[in-house]
């Protein structure tokens, strides 16, 4: 389908525990950086989409679109939020893509934002778990890590994936994040430390799990025809696809695979006229390390069951054949839920522009992001190109 929508500017706030900043502060920060990066003027922007999972529960505020437009000085800008649990960011990108494609909007600001540290840890865990089937999974004692532990345990039983392999994903992503100035964690973590970290829900450990984070990421997107007005290095959305699956993990026949990921990645590649081998760099949703492993299988980097081996053999290292999460991924960059999907796109845009500095992968022409919601009930895939 080719180049119809472009990304002309990107911006991020730092990801971490940002005590001094409110949700609005970080949203505005990311938004303004994206606007400056795009070299657009405020009045050029004709719409704002925000990806956010649960500002209502985390901070007590809804109606974020109105707030961001107002406080950003963009006055009567049409703005609203979209929500798809952990895929809210990807959903926001997709929403803007579709709005621009339809011709209804020309230049849009996309924000992904979440502030999770304004509530205590117990409430944060409760809110995270509503991404699953809260009524029939969470309420009965399945914490969000327990659901991924269900998947990990079956994957270990059916394919021989080891705890060591689960831990190697962490080591890789932390190593990568050392070069990411916005990442929540920028120091490497030795394998033994990961393997000894406290258990959340056997076999998943604290260091296999993405953290609770605050953060925001922003993009300026516009129609491909107008892109060159603003920048010499536009990045194009070659495809944007979404698929769904059952909300509850227990309603799926095979919990070692996420059929929504299989389906959305396949149709995204098809639309872009590419095979998986054509993709040079990946941002894959590693809310837990097992999900990065499963996604590498589901998008076809490796065969089903070989995801653990792949990370062990270095296939997904920054200098490997299929570099995954060179930004540090959700594990090391952080996972402010609604921000993640947009942060993935920010990273891939920088990679395509050659602006990723010390974490730059050589010769990036095509990039792919997979952003999932809950335990895979939603999967949103974007393929970007130069």
């Amino acid at each position: 389908m080719g180049k119809r929508v472009a990304i002309i500017g990107v911006g991020m706030s730092k990801f971490g525990e940002l005590w001094d900043k409110s949700l609005a502060d970080i949203s505005l920060e990311a938004g303004m950086y994206a606007i400056f990066d795009a070299q657009v003027k405020g009045k050029d922007i004709d719409g704002l989409i925000i990806g956010n999972m649960s500002a209502g529960r985390f901070t007590g505020q809804e109606h974020l679109g109105a707030q961001a437009a107002d406080w950003g000085g963009l006055g009567n800008l049409p703005a609203y939020s979209v929500e798809a649990a952990c895929a809210s960011g990807g959903a926001a990108v997709r929403q803007a893509y579709m709005a621009i494609l339809s011709g209804e909007h020309d230049v849009m600001l996309v924000l992904g934002t979440e502030k999770m540290s304004d509530v205590n840890q117990s409430m944060a865990m409760d809110t995270i778990s509503v991404a699953s089937d809260w009524e029939w999974e969470g309420m009965f004692g399945a914490t969000f890590p327990a659901l991924y532990a269900f998947m990990a345990r079956r994957h270990m039983m059916e394919y021989g994936t080891t705890e060591e392999q689960l831990s190697m994903v962490t080591v890789k992503n932390h190593k990568n994040a050392a070069h990411n100035p916005w990442a929540q964690f920028q120091s490497p973590v030795p394998l033994e430390v990961v393997m000894k970290s406290g258990l959340l829900a056997d076999p998943i450990r604290v260091l296999h799990s993405s953290p609770i984070s605050d953060g925001a990421a922003g993009l300026v997107m516009c129609s491909a025809e107008r892109a060159k007005e603003f920048t010499d290095t536009p990045v194009y959305v070659e495809s944007s696809k979404q698929a769904g699956d059952t909300l509850a993990l227990h309603d799926r026949a095979d919990i070692c695979s996420m059929s929504a990921v299989v389906s959305s990645s396949r149709s995204a590649l098809k639309e872009a006229g590419l095979t998986i081998k054509d993709i040079d760099v990946f941002e894959l949703h590693d809310s837990f390390t097992i999900s990065e492993i499963i996604i590498t299988e589901d998008i076809g980097i490796v065969k089903k069951g070989e995801g653990g081996k792949a990370v062990e053999e270095g296939l997904t290292e920054i200098d490997g054949k299929f570099p995954v999460n060179v930004s540090g991924g959700l594990k090391a960059r952080g996972h402010p839920i609604g921000a993640t999907g947009v942060a993935q796109i920010v990273e891939l845009a920088l990679q395509l522009r050659g602006d990723a500095e010390k974490r730059q992968v050589d010769g990036v022409e095509k990039a792919m992001s997979v952003n999932i919601g809950g335990t895979g009930a939603t999967s949103i895939v974007h393929i970007l190109g130069r």
Binding site: W136, G141, F150, R153, D251
Partner: protein
């Protein structure tokens, strides 16, 4: 679920006290939790209420060691996906079982336990948990 909302829980009493779900007579599939529409047949489906026997086996499990306040007193506890004999799978805690003994394929049966309570003055939510089949469950 809203913290203080009683209707939301009350609506599900038959389902969570007795594991009552649905059976689609068109495609002969058993569903739990109860459904509005058969996901296979949609408008062609005919759903009738069905109370599960409460027997099944463990499909996968996890040992929860960090939990929110409502479950904190019980950690570490076992939570599992139980595949009921009729074919539907649900998520529930496994009780009366030592952590070392739980395994995929273990036969279990449902029992009636407290799931949660909304503070000291709120309502108590009861529902299903599962325990390994043994002499005191009426099995050998």
């Amino acid at each position: 679920m809203s913290e203080k909302g009683v209707a939301q829980f009350w609506r599900k009493i038959k389902a969570i006290y007795t594991i009552q779900g649905d059976h689609c007579t068109t495609c002969d599939t058993y569903y739990f939790p109860p459904r509005v529409v058969c996901p296979e047949c949609r408008r062609k489906g005919q759903l009738e209420k069905y109370t599960f026997k409460g027997l099944g086996e463990i499909h996968t499990f996890a040992i929860v060691r960090q939990a929110p306040d409502t479950f904190k007193r019980q950690i570490p506890y076992i939570v599992a996906q139980v595949e009921l004999d009729e074919g539907a799978r649900l998520t529930a805690q496994i009780v009366n079982c030592d952590i070392e003994d739980v395994h995929i394929g273990m036969r279990v049966r449902s029992c009636f336990r407290k799931i949660t309570e909304y503070g000291e003055s709120g309502i108590i939510v009861y529902g299903y948990k599962f325990e390994p089949t043994m002499k005191v469950t009426g099995h050998e």
